[in-house]
C-alpha cells in the first residue's frame, strides 16, 4: 500500500499545513486531518504492533472502532497512551509514538511470539505456565508483563485540569449524522431545548464522508447548513468532540467533552476534558452503523482496511489508501467504495465478491470476481498482493491496499447499557436495539435504516413525535433529495473458509478464528465464556469490529442462529474515558480538604507539629529547642501538665446542641446511662451503644438549660453520631419534640489541665470557679472579663484538675493567647494529642482504640453505667444476651512490663506463660500502649480473657510484626492517682 494525498478534494484546509512527528520522524498534515489520515497521506502504513504476537499492524478504520492504530500522543506528563489515531485531531506540533514494540516499530523482538503461536493459543496462560508453581511469580508473570501490554502510563503528575457539569434538556441527540442532524433540526424548530453530542470534531457524521450528493451538491454542504441553523438557535447546545459514553437510570447520560485535547499548549484556565451528566426528558440514539470486517487469511496485513474507511479517507481527507486498490466484499457497499475511489482517479485492481450474484455495477473497466474469496495476503509490513480463490483455483492479484466489507451492524451500545439485550433481526442480519421505552429511541443507521433519505425521514419523524409528546407542535420541512440513491444490501459472511494463514477475528487482542474453535472444543462455547477464554472483545476497543463476527463464527460452529448465541453484555463506557475526567475537580485538597481547628493559628504560633486525623489537622506535640525526638516533647508536656498546667486544643471533638421539651427523654433513649434527671448546670460522661449492644461512641452530656443539652462526641465519630441521632429522631421516634444541630465548627474548645489550671483560668473570669462554686462535672455559661460569652465545663481527660472552656470559634485564638499569657507565671505549656493520649492512658481512660466495635460497656469496665431500669434505650435489649454477658469475655486491664526497659506496642496479642502463639492460645490483645513519663516505663491497656480476675498474673505480650515477646504483669487499668485525688483538688 502506498498512501498519498490526492491533488484535490476533501474537507481539509490545504492552505493550513501542520507539522507533527511520528516516532520522531517529522511529517506534515493539513488542518482538518486526523492523525490517521495524516499518517496515511505520508505513507506511514505501519502504526503499531499487536498485543500478543507483535504482528505489524496498520490503520483499519476511520473512527472510534479502531483496533490497531493506538498511539501515545504528547510527551512527559501530558502523554496520552492508547489514543486512537483515527479520532485524534491533528494539530501543529503533535508528537505521536507507537506502542508495544522494542526496540523499534519496524524491528520488534517480540514478533518471535508469532513463531511461538502454536503454544500461545487461547487460554495458553492457564495451561502453559502452570509448572513449576513457584515459577509463576518469578519467571512467567514478569515475562508476560514485559511482552504484553499497550501504552504505558506516565508517573509524573498530570498538569491538566478537569471538570464536571450537569446539563438538562428536552431532547438529547447522540450523534450528528444525517438522522441526528435532521432530528435535532426538527425538534429545535419546534422549540425544544436540544443538546446534540457527537464525538467528532466536525459535525455531520457520514454526510462528511459519503460520495453521494444531495440536490447536486456534496452532502457535507447540507451538514454545514443544518449545523449553522442549529447554532443560530438559542435553544440548542452543540457539543462536538463529545462522546456520550453511558446511559444511566432516569434517562441520565454521561458524556465526556475533549475541550482542548486538540491544541498543542492547553490553557490551564479551562479544563482539558469535561464530563457531562445530561438529564434528558427524551433521547434519540443516532450513532450510525459499524461496517463489518471479513475474517480471511492474512486479514491483518497493513494495507487491509474497512472499505468504508477508504471512502472516508478519500472523500473527507483527500487521501488515497493505495495506488492499486482491491475490494473484498459481501455487499453492495464495496462497489460504492470502488466507485468513489475510481472517481478520484485511484486504480481499482479488482472487486472480489463473495456472493454468486449481485445487481451491483462495478466502475468501468474494473474486474469483478464473483463467488470468490481471499485466502491469503502477501507482503510483510505492507500489502503486496492477495491470493484469490475460486472453485479451488488460486490467483495472485497485485495490490497495495485492500478494502473489506462484510455488511453493517447498527451501533446500539447505549440502548443496551441498562440491562436490555439487543435482538437479532433476521431481515437485517444484525443485532438491533431492544425496545427500551419512550425515553430513548433509535434512529437512522443505528435503527437499521441505511439510505440517506431514510435516515433523514426517520430522524425527522421521531423528533416530531417527541415534540408532540412533550406538548410542542412540530412541522416537518421538506426532505432533501438524494441523487441516484440505491439501498445497500449484503450477505452475512462470518468466516471465509480456506485460510492459508491466520484469519483474525479480534485484531487488537490477536484472536483468530481457530481460537474460537478451541474455546468451543474445550467447553467454553457460550458467548460470555468464549469472550473470556479467548479474550475476543476484551481489548480497549471492546470488540467494536470483532464481536459480531465472533458471534457469527460461534453460531456457525455450534450450528445455531446468531440469535441463539446472543451478545456479550454491554456496559459503560462506550469508549475509554480518562481517570482525570472521571475525577474532575476532586483531587488534592478538593478530594480531601484540610479541616483546621479555630486554634490552628495558635498552634502554629506555638510551634506545633501536626498530625492528620481524618480530615483534621491536629496539633500533635509542640517541640522546643534542644528536644531531639517527639518523645522528648511529649514526655515534657505530660510531666508539665501533671506538675503545673497545660493548654490543649480539643475543638475537633464533635459538638451537638439539643433542644426541645423532649430533649431529655430523647437523650435518655440514646445513652445507655441515665440522662433524664441530669440537673441543669451539670455534665455527665455518656456512653452510646449500637442496637447490637456494643459501644458506639462516648462523650459528655451537659445540661445548659431545662430544654437545652450540649453533647460532645469523639472526633472520629462526630458525623456518625449526628446521623445516628437523626435516624432515631426521624425514623424511630418521630413524635418526640426534639431538635438538634451540629455546632462543631462554631466553638473553639480549650482544655486547661493541671494543678494550676484554676489559678490560670481565674485570670480570665470574674466568677468564682473554686471547688465549692464550680465542682467537678459542672457545666455553665460564663462571660469572660473581655466580654466574650463562653461555656465552662469541669471535665477532665487527664485525671488532673481540669476545665474545658468553649468560646465562639472566631475568639478562639485570642482567648488561647490570653490563657498562655496568664499561664506564663505558672509555667503553662501547650500540649498536643500525643500528650493527651499518654495522660488518658495513665488514667485508664478510653478512646476508639478500645471501643473498636467489639467491646461492651462491661468489657471496658463500665458495666455499672448500663441503666437497665430504663424502659428502653438503643442497645438495651441485646445487651442482655448470653454472649455479651459471658464471664470469659475479654476485659479491660492494664499491663506493665516486668522488665521496665521493654516497650509494648498496640496490636500485640496476649499469651499465657509457656504457651505457643496460636489462635487457640490467644488470650487477648493490646489496644493502646505508650511510655509513661510519670512511671518511667511503658504501659498498656489491653483486653484479656476474664481479665479483671487476673491482676498480678504474668502474660506474654506477643508482637509478631516486630518479632518480640515481652513478659508483662496484668494490673488495674488506672496507673496514676487511682483514688482520683488530683481530679477534685
Amino acid at each position: 500500500m502506498t498512501g498519498y494525498r490526492l491533488s484535490s478534494g476533501g474537507l481539509v484546509d490545504r492552505s493550513k499545513s501542520l507539522s507533527f512527528t511520528f516516532d520522531g520522524r517529522p511529517l506534515r498534515g493539513l488542518a482538518g486531518d486526523t492523525l490517521a489520515s495524516a499518517l496515511l497521506a505520508n505513507d506511514q502504513l505501519l502504526v503499531g504492533r499487536s498485543f500478543k504476537y507483535h504482528r505489524p499492524r496498520g490503520i483499519v478504520s476511520a473512527g472510534p472502532s479502531e483496533p490497531n492504530a493506538l498511539v501515545t500522543i504528547g510527551t512527559g506528563p501530558r502523554s496520552d497512551a492508547n489514543t486512537k489515531a483515527t479520532v485524534a485531531e491533528l494539530y501543529g506540533g503533535l508528537t505521536a509514538r507507537s506502542q508495544n514494540r522494542w526496540p523499534s516499530l519496524g524491528f520488534d523482538i517480540g514478533a518471535v511470539n508469532g513463531a511461538l503461536s502454536p503454544f500461545l493459543g487461547a487460554g495458553f496462560y492457564y495451561k502453559t505456565f502452570m509448572w513449576p508453581k513457584q515459577f509463576w511469580e518469578r519467571v512467567y508473570e514478569p515475562f508476560i508483563r514485559r511482552a504484553a501490554g499497550l501504552g504505558r502510563a506516565v508517573l509524573e503528575r498530570d498538569p491538566e485540569t478537569y471538570e464536571k457539569s450537569w446539563a438538562h434538556c428536552d431532547l438529547l441527540v447522540v450523534g450528528a449524522g444525517p438522522a441526528g442532524l435532521m432530528a435535532a433540526l426538527t425538534a429545535a424548530r419546534a422549540g425544544l431545548r436540544v443538546i446534540v453530542a457527537d464525538e467528532d470534531f466536525r459535525l455531520g457524521g457520514s454526510l462528511l464522508s459519503t460520495s453521494e450528493t444531495i440536490d447536486g451538491a456534496p452532502a457535507s454542504i447540507l451538514a454545514d447548513r443544518v449545523v449553522a441553523e442549529l447554532q443560530a438557535l438559542g435553544n440548542v447546545t452543540l457539543l462536538s468532540r463529545t462522546t456520550v459514553f453511558g446511559w444511566y437510570d432516569d434517562n441520565v447520560f454521561g458524556a465526556v467533552e475533549r475541550v482542548q485535547k486538540h491544541v498543542a499548549e492547553p490553557s490551564l484556565k479551562i479544563a482539558s476534558e469535561r464530563v457531562w451528566r445530561i438529564v434528558a426528558k427524551r433521547a434519540l440514539l443516532a450513532t450510525g452503523a459499524e461496517e463489518r470486517p471479513l475474517v480471511f487469511g492474512g486479514n491483518d496485513r497493513p494495507g487491509v482496511m474497512m472499505a468504508g474507511a477508504m471512502t472516508t479517507y478519500a472523500e473527507r481527507y483527500g487521501v488515497a489508501a493505495g495506488k492499486q486498490v482491491a475490494i473484498f466484499t459481501s455487499g453492495s457497499a464495496g462497489y460504492r467504495t470502488a466507485h468513489a475511489l475510481a472517481a478520484k482517479g485511484i486504480s481499482v485492481a479488482a472487486i472480489v465478491d463473495a456472493r454468486a450474484e449481485a445487481a451491483d455495477q462495478a466502475p468501468d473497466g474494473v474486474r469483478v470476481i464473483r463467488s470468490a474469496s481471499i485466502v491469503d495476503t502477501k507482503g510483510r509490513q505492507r500489502l503486496r498482493g492477495i491470493v484469490v480463490e475460486r472453485s479451488g483455483f488460486e490467483e495472485l492479484i497485485a495490490c497495495d491496499a485492500l478494502g473489506m466489507h462484510g455488511g453493517w451492524s447498527p451501533v446500539v451500545h447505549l440502548a443496551c447499557q441498562r440491562g436490555a439485550r439487543p435482538a437479532w433481526s433476521e431481515e437485517l442480519k444484525a443485532f438491533v436495539a431492544p425496545d427500551v421505552g419512550g425515553g430513548l429511541r433509535v434512529i437512522g443507521a443505528a435503527n437499521g435504516v441505511y439510505t440517506l433519505s431514510g435516515c433523514f425521514n426517520d430522524g425527522a419523524e421521531k423528533a416530531a413525535a417527541i415534540a408532540a409528546d412533550l406538548g410542542f407542535s412540530a412541522s416537518r420541512g421538506a426532505s432533501p433529495a438524494i441523487d441516484g440513491e440505491t439501498a445497500p444490501s449484503f450477505t452475512a459472511l462470518w468466516y471465509v473458509p480456506g485460510a492459508k494463514s491466520k484469519a483474525f477475528v479480534d485484531f487488537q487482542n490477536d484472536v483468530h478464528a481457530k481460537d474460537l474453535g478451541l474455546a468451543l472444543r474445550e467447553g467454553f462455547g457460550h458467548v460470555e465464556h468464549a469472550k473470556r477464554y479467548t479474550t475476543s472483545g476484551m481489548a480497549t476497543d471492546q470488540g467494536k469490529l470483532s464481536n459480531i463476527n465472533a458471534v457469527g463464527i460461534l453460531a456457525g460452529m455450534r450450528g445455531v442462529s446468531p440469535a441463539d448465541v446472543g451478545t456479550t453484555t454491554f456496559r459503560p463506557f462506550y469508549t475509554p474515558v480518562s481517570f482525570g475526567a472521571l475525577a474532575g475537580t476532586a483531587r488534592d485538597e478538593h478530594a480531601t480538604p484540610a479541616r483546621k481547628s479555630p486554634l490552628h493559628g495558635w498552634a502554629m504560633k506555638n510551634g506545633a507539629t501536626f498530625v492528620e486525623a481524618g480530615l483534621w489537622h491536629r496539633s500533635a506535640w509542640f517541640p522546643r529547642a534542644g528536644e531531639k525526638t517527639w518523645r522528648d516533647s511529649v514526655d515534657r508536656e505530660v510531666l508539665n501538665v501533671r506538675a503545673n498546667v497545660g493548654l490543649c486544643d480539643v475543638s475537633t471533638l464533635g459538638k451537638i446542641e439539643v433542644f426541645g421539651p423532649d430533649a431529655a427523654e430523647f437523650l435518655n433513649r440514646l445513652y445507655c446511662n441515665p440522662v433524664l434527671k441530669l440537673p441543669v448546670g451539670k455534665a455527665r460522661y455518656g456512653l452510646m451503644l449500637r442496637e447490637d449492644g456494643f459501644v458506639f461512641d462516648d462523650g459528655t452530656v451537659s445540661r445548659l438549660a431545662d430544654e437545652h443539652f450540649f453533647l460532645t462526641t469523639t472526633t472520629a465519630m462526630a458525623g456518625a453520631v449526628m446521623a445516628h441521632m437523626e435516624y432515631c429522631a426521624q425514623a424511630l421516634w418521630p413524635d418526640l419534640d426534639v431538635r438538634f444541630v451540629s455546632s462543631t465548627d462554631q466553638w473553639a474548645q480549650l482544655a486547661i489541665a493541671g494543678p494550676k489550671a484554676r489559678a490560670v483560668l481565674q485570670h480570665l473570669v470574674d466568677e468564682d470557679i473554686s471547688e465549692g462554686a464550680l465542682p467537678f462535672l459542672s457545666a455553665r455559661k460564663v462571660v469572660l472579663k473581655t466580654g466574650v460569652s463562653a461555656r465552662l465545663f469541669r471535665i477532665s481527660f487527664s485525671g488532673e484538675l481540669a476545665f474545658e472552656l468553649a468560646v465562639p470559634a472566631g475568639y478562639g485564638e485570642a482567648v488561647a493567647d490570653q490563657i498562655m499569657e496568664a499561664g506564663r507565671p505558672h509555667d503553662i505549656c501547650a500540649y498536643g494529642v500525643e500528650a493527651l493520649n499518654v495522660l488518658r492512658l495513665e488514667k485508664g481512660l478510653l478512646t476508639h482504640a478500645e471501643f473498636d466495635g467489639r467491646v461492651t460497656p462491661d468489657d471496658a469496665g463500665l458495666g455499672r453505667m448500663l441503666s437497665m431500669q430504663k424502659t428502653d434505650f438503643i442497645g438495651k435489649r441485646l445487651s442482655s444476651r448470653y454472649g455479651l454477658t459471658a464471664a470469659d469475655r475479654m476485659q479491660l486491664v492494664g499491663l506493665k512490663p516486668v522488665d521496665a526497659d521493654k516497650d509494648m506496642r498496640a496490636g500485640a496479642h496476649l499469651l499465657k506463660e509457656g504457651t505457643k502463639p496460636s489462635t487457640l492460645n490467644d488470650q487477648g490483645w493490646v489496644s493502646s500502649a505508650g511510655f509513661s513519663p510519670v512511671l518511667g516505663h511503658s504501659i498498656a491497656l489491653a483486653f484479656l480473657k476474664s481479665g479483671r480476675e487476673r491482676y498480678g498474673e504474668k502474660v506474654i505480650v506477643f508482637d509478631k510484626l516486630r518479632d518480640q515477646e515481652i513478659l508483662a504483669e496484668v494490673c488495674d487499668p488506672v496507673f496514676v492517682d487511682p483514688q482520683n485525688e488530683k481530679l477534685k483538688a
Binding site: W166, Y248, D249, D250, V252, R277, V279, R418, E691, D692, A723, E726, Y727, Q730, A731, L732, P734, D735, T871, D872, K876, R877, L878
Partner: protein
C-alpha cells in the same frame, strides 16, 4: 439504582447526595419483644429482587431520612416519603 431521587423537601436531586442505610420495612420491636423479634430486627436482612423500602439519608441536602420505595431489578422508583411520615403511617 436511580440516578435521581425526588426528595419531598428538596426536589429532584442526584443520588450522590444521599447515603443509603438499608431496609426500612422493619419496625423497631417493643423493648420486651421476644429474642427472635430482636434478632431479626438487628441481624436478618432480606435481599429481595423487586420492590423494596429503603432508608435514604439526604446527607448533602435537608438531612432528613427518606423512605425510598424502589425496584432492585428495574431500578424504578415508586415513591419517596419522609421517614417520620412513613413511621407514623406504619403505626397508624
Amino acid at each position: 439504582m436511580a440516578s435521581l431521587i425526588t426528595c419531598p423537601h428538596c426536589g429532584v436531586r442526584p443520588k450522590e447526595e444521599f447515603a443509603i442505610r438499608g431496609d426500612a420495612s422493619r419496625a423497631r420491636p417493643e423493648p420486651l419483644a421476644p429474642d427472635d423479634a430482636w434478632h431479626d430486627y438487628v441481624y436478618v436482612r432480606a435481599n429481595p429482587r423487586g420492590r423494596t423500602f429503603e432508608h435514604w439519608h439526604h446527607i448533602a441536602g435537608c438531612r432528613r431520612f427518606l423512605v425510598v420505595e424502589r425496584d432492585t431489578a428495574t431500578h424504578e422508583v415508586y415513591s419517596v416519603v419522609d421517614a417520620a411520615d412513613f413511621a407514623r403511617r406504619a403505626e397508624g
